[in-house]
């Protein structure tokens, strides 16, 4: 399995304050972060940018929703094995079912506990690197 060598996290979140908090939390823990605010720019980044260690993706995004972005990530061979964690504030069961078909790695329900989210993303990155 090949994942991005740099410990960078792509954070796609349209809520400015929550996005900034996530960026702060991951940077505080030693990661680089790429902050994106909508689905279209996320797809553009995936098409042009280097694969990240993980992608943190909100479900509800402007232009293209999180599922469309996740599908674009999985369609790109360079990004295919990068863990995708979806932040969902909606019915988790419905989102899990929809995401499973696309290849979403994990889900975190909003509102979330910051340390739990950080721990989950870090263990997914370790798993991806080990696998």
């Amino acid at each position: 399995m090949r994942v991005g060598a740099r410990s960078s996290i792509v954070i796609v979140e349209d809520d400015e304050n929550i996005g900034e908090l996530l960026g702060f939390m991951f940077r505080r823990d030693g990661f680089d972060t790429v902050m994106l605010r909508d689905g279209r720019s996320a797809e553009e980044y995936v098409a042009a940018g280097e694969p990240a260690a993980a992608v943190l993706l909100d479900v509800m995004l402007p232009y293209r929703d999180g599922f469309a972005v996740a599908a674009a990530i999985r369609a790109d061979p360079r990004w295919r094995d990068v863990p995708i964690v979806m932040l969902t504030g909606r019915s988790l069961a419905a989102d899990v079912e929809r995401g499973r078909a696309i290849g979403v790695t994990d889900y975190v329900l909003k509102p979330f506990r910051p340390p739990a989210l950080l721990g989950r993303v870090k263990s997914l990155i370790e798993l991806a690197r080990a696998g």
Binding site: N17, E20, F24, R113, P114
Partner: protein, 368 residues
Amino acid sequence: MTPTSRALATAVPVAQAGFGWANARDPFIAAAWAIGLVALTITVGLALQVLAMRARSVRRERRRDAVLAAWRPVLFERVLGGAPPLPAVSRRDEDTVLLLWTQLQDGLRGDARERLNAVGAEIDAHAMARRRLARDAALDRLLGLRTLGYLGCVADYPDVALHLDDARPYLCLAAARALVHIDPARAPGDVLPRLAARGDWPVPLFATVLGEADAREVASRFRALHATVTSEQRVRLLPLLSVLDAAIGDEILRELLANADAPDVLGAALRCVRSAGLLGDVRRLCAHPAWAVRTQAAAALGRVGGPAERDVLLGLLTDSQWWVRYRAAKALASGRFGGREEVTALASGLGDRFARDIVEHALAEDAA
């Protein structure tokens, strides 16, 4: 004659003819001059005002950005367990800080919320919120209600509850949410009766809010209310079932499906069926005289039924109403009741041209 002297020679008669403000003898021309000057003055005044407003807005925006730049890292560090000192909050920056604080509260839970509340206590967010609640502007009140809700001070409950009777539904929603945060067990008793009575309240949004309240209290209040409201109100309240425990929701639905008479109530209840435990009632309603009820019963069978319901659905394929046949065919085409060929053969075996046609239609739609 030089060009300058020629211009002077023509200018004198023009002035004498009254084309100057000072010399205008014709009252119409004087009025035109006056109107022109007033219009010019107003235009210049408005342009200056627009410029001043723009400058004020840019200043406000810069100040907001500066406050956020100072507060975000400190607040984020506090949320994550650090203890950096908090910057001072001036009166005019209170809105920005409170908005940041409430937006973080919206997205976080657990220890992070408790730490935010500790910050709230340090900056006296309670006093800021009370000041906003006392103002008339809706935005001030919204911010006040949200803040008081997250602070969760029981003494604020009565004042927040007063806003449930506000004419503006969005303020009522904010008040309901604040009440649920302050006292999750008491809030359903205040919110639910008003939700039934107020036709302008968006029930699905209130259902989401009540989803955070004490589930047992919501269920018991909902059940009690259900017995007293009109059938129209019952239909309106059905989205609340989504936030109840599945077993309690099924119990309420079973009661409705067994006892309700009105086709719109039955149809709405059938639309909420998500559990196979209600199949007995659904099957019975497939023979209801109202075609709208039969349609929803067919759709419900398609959602939760199994092979045992196949014969009931096949029977509905020969219904006199197109919508009933269509829903039954869509259910059969879903794959839960057999493969394409099997369903087509079964429909053909009914000897009814309409049944065969509608199944072909449904299969073609699903294949498209």
